[in-house]
């Protein structure tokens, strides 16, 4: 053979044993909450690029936090000033309504009136402010923690409660879990319950709108933990390839049931950073800052509407409550962690801003709280008059057999007969 033999290389000096790395949160129950690793930009600090900016020009936006409301409850910087007083007051009302609704439904579940509930405590600004950046006809593909989209759009709370109670007026006929709402009219796609599956569906819906030369856009929603799911990738790949007119929202509320965000995020620094690998502009925003959420949402929505393609938005917020009524967070995080959360409470922050603006007072706030609560209670009474999961009346067993297909096929008709309904 014409090739010389390769002499055996001297053995590499014995490498050290590998070790396994599992990220862990800074503090566990018993410890003192510590968010000192959360890097928070000053309000007004992060620049507002033109909507047609080249994605690679704003890579650093994926590592900062766009904020409008400062410590003194003033709205500052390039993202401020989009909303009128009346609009801000409406935003406050939506958030307060969602909070009151949550409180009542949480309690109703504890009373055995339904099987399950999931609240939004601390995250109200995200869905309430986002909804106001959309136009009628746009479509959200929400998770179970965006009921603010419905409330801020005026979906009847009675319908929400009827579904939560699976009662005789349940718009989903008792088939779907509580909180897994659906309203085509209000641009709220049927929630699945399987994480991340709907992110790519949002992209598909947006592609369809582009295919048809429509002007409507879509918004996908996902939690921090769920960005780890593979359909997140499918969504980003398709959105990037087809420049779909979609806003891809990540609600980073720091927790995925018991798992802190570091498990899903790994070494990326932020969730917004995931966009960098796709050439998708990625912004982070203070999710507890109503005007900031709205302004960033508007920016992203405008990009989509102008056919400039997808935008990834990470809302930095905190899940103050339990994951769901099946969960007790004191088992995995300090009880007082939410108090230490550096971005505060979205309702309080907007309230204070409105007071500073001179259009709101502590007294009116108290009064509004009471009014909202009694409205919610009145609706709840009405809903309960149509039944709860515990007491009924419910949608019928007949309803259970309907709607699997447009027309009931013979085998299902036979089964319904067997079932005696």
């Amino acid at each position: 053979m014409v090739f010389p033999a390769v002499e055996k290389e001297p053995a590499m000096s014995e490498p050290k044993p590998l070790s396994f790395h599992v990220p862990a949160p800074a503090v566990r129950p018993g410890g003192t909450p510590d968010f000192s690793d959360v890097k928070i930009s000053r309000a007004g600090e992060v620049e507002r690029p033109p909507v047609d900016v080249a994605p690679e020009k704003i890579r650093e936006h994926a590592f900062r936090i766009i904020r409008v409301l400062d410590r003194n409850s003033q709205a500052v910087g390039p993202w401020a000033g989009l909303l009128s007083d009346t609009e801000l007051l409406a935003g406050l009302r939506h958030m307060m309504t969602l909070r009151a609704f949550d409180a009542r439904m949480q309690m109703a579940q504890r009373q055995g009136k339904t099987s399950f509930y999931m609240q939004h405590m601390g995250e109200e600004a995200v869905s309430c402010a986002f909804r106001k950046a959309l136009e009628p006809g746009d479509m959200n593909f929400p998770t179970y923690r965006q009921a603010g989209l419905l409330i801020a759009d005026g979906y009847p709370m009675l319908d929400m409660m009827n579904q939560i109670y699976s009662n005789e007026l349940d718009p989903m006929k008792g088939r779907q879990l509580p909180v897994m709402y659906s309203s085509r009219e209000h641009g709220f796609f049927s929630i699945s319950g399987n994480l991340a599956t709907q992110y790519i569906q949002a992209v598909g819906w947006a592609m369809a709108s582009a295919i048809k030369g429509d002007t409507r856009i879509a918004a996908g929603w996902i939690g921090d933990g769920s960005t780890a799911e593979s359909d997140f990738h499918a969504a980003l790949v398709f959105a990037s390839t087809y420049k779909a007119p979609v806003v891809l929202n990540i609600v980073n509320n720091q927790w995925a049931i018991s798992t802190f965000q570091g498990i899903a995020r790994g070494g990326s620094g932020t969730f917004a950073a995931r966009g960098l690998g796709f050439g998708i502009p990625a912004l982070r925003v203070d999710g507890n800052d109503y005007p900031a959420v709205h302004a960033v949402a508007k920016w992203a929505v405008e990009r989509a509407r102008r056919n400039l393609g997808p935008t990834l938005v990470e809302y930095v917020t905190y899940r103050v409550g339990a994951h769901s009524t099946s969960d007790d967070p004191s088992a995995y995080r300090p009880k007082t962690e939410s108090d230490a959360w550096p971005l505060g409470d979205p309702v309080l922050r907007l309230k204070n801003h409105l007071i500073v603006r001179g259009v709101w007072t502590e007294e009116r706030h108290k009064q509004a709280e009471a009014e909202i609560m009694s409205e919610v209670i009145a609706i709840q009474k009405e809903a309960e008059s149509h039944g709860t999961l515990h007491t009924g009346p419910h949608p019928s067993a007949r309803d259970m057999f309907e709607g699997v297909f447009e027309e009931m096929p013979p085998h299902l008709r036979r089964q319904r007969q067997q079932g005696g309904v």
Partner: protein
Amino acid sequence: MPRKTMVEAIRDAMDVCMQRDANVVVFGEDVGYFGGVFRCTQNLQQKYGSNRVFDTPINESGIVGAAVGMAAYGLRPCVEIQFADYMYPAYDQIVSEAARLRYRSNGQFTAPLVVRMPTGGGIFGGQTHSQSPEALFTHVSGLKTVVPSNPYDAKGLLISAIEDNDPVIFLEPKRLYNGPFDGHHERPVTPWARHPLGEVPDGHYTVPLGKALVRREGAAVTVLAYGTMVYVAEAAAEETGIDAEIIDLRTLLPYDLETIVASVTKTGRCVVVHEATLTSGYGAELSAIVQENCFYNLEAPVARVTGWDTPYPHAQEWDYFPGPARVGRALKAVMEA
């Protein structure tokens, strides 16, 4: 009447639907410019533009997930999974999303989409180009599952599927694309051009979902088959001389109980055949419903002839494939039972 291969018939079905309904869109891996690795979508992009016929990234979950979103918007996506063996990444979107959307939203949103996929063996495709996963679809409430066995049906069923308002899984026996195949792999291939079922009318017609067809009348034993196995069963009947009635199911869900029961009531015997592995295959359901509905008419146990419970092998293709000899043995056994 014009003769078409099954590939041409399938393409024609999409063409007809795209012509009639601007909401029909077609996409998948390599289906756009190239026209699909089996050429089922050839020239469609040229004809309808890349707005309606386009290539996708290699992500089956993305293909079906995007289709669900598009269908909810109001389009009628007809997507291709390159081989049924590669549908698993899309299974969640099919099972948890497409199949349940109408139900869980009480009809507010629906998923009128078709997922086409080449299925079955006989082409030395080994583990990853030969599978028959139909039972994984028939177990899922909310899906319709179709398996055509010839060009005429393929076109008519695919048009029905595209026009259907629910998600349809459309399994194309790839060994039949170019001609019928009775399992006699050592013999030359008959092209569809020389087979009466290769006659495919131009334009729009439908073959209804949920209706089986008696392909061969007989009095001695009923054979329940679909796809490639229809021809294998025919060969077995010819070769054994057994007067078998062969039913081509065409739609596996919803299935045509009436036709099945009428035949077995008449013959008193039943053999179920399919390519998929035996255990928990679709044949189990057929066997169960036959004995539930025809128990007092049965003169022998319902027999199943299927692929073995192993992954699909490469070299042993013809040991694995339930060919006419095995089906023939089962026919004889059932007749002697």
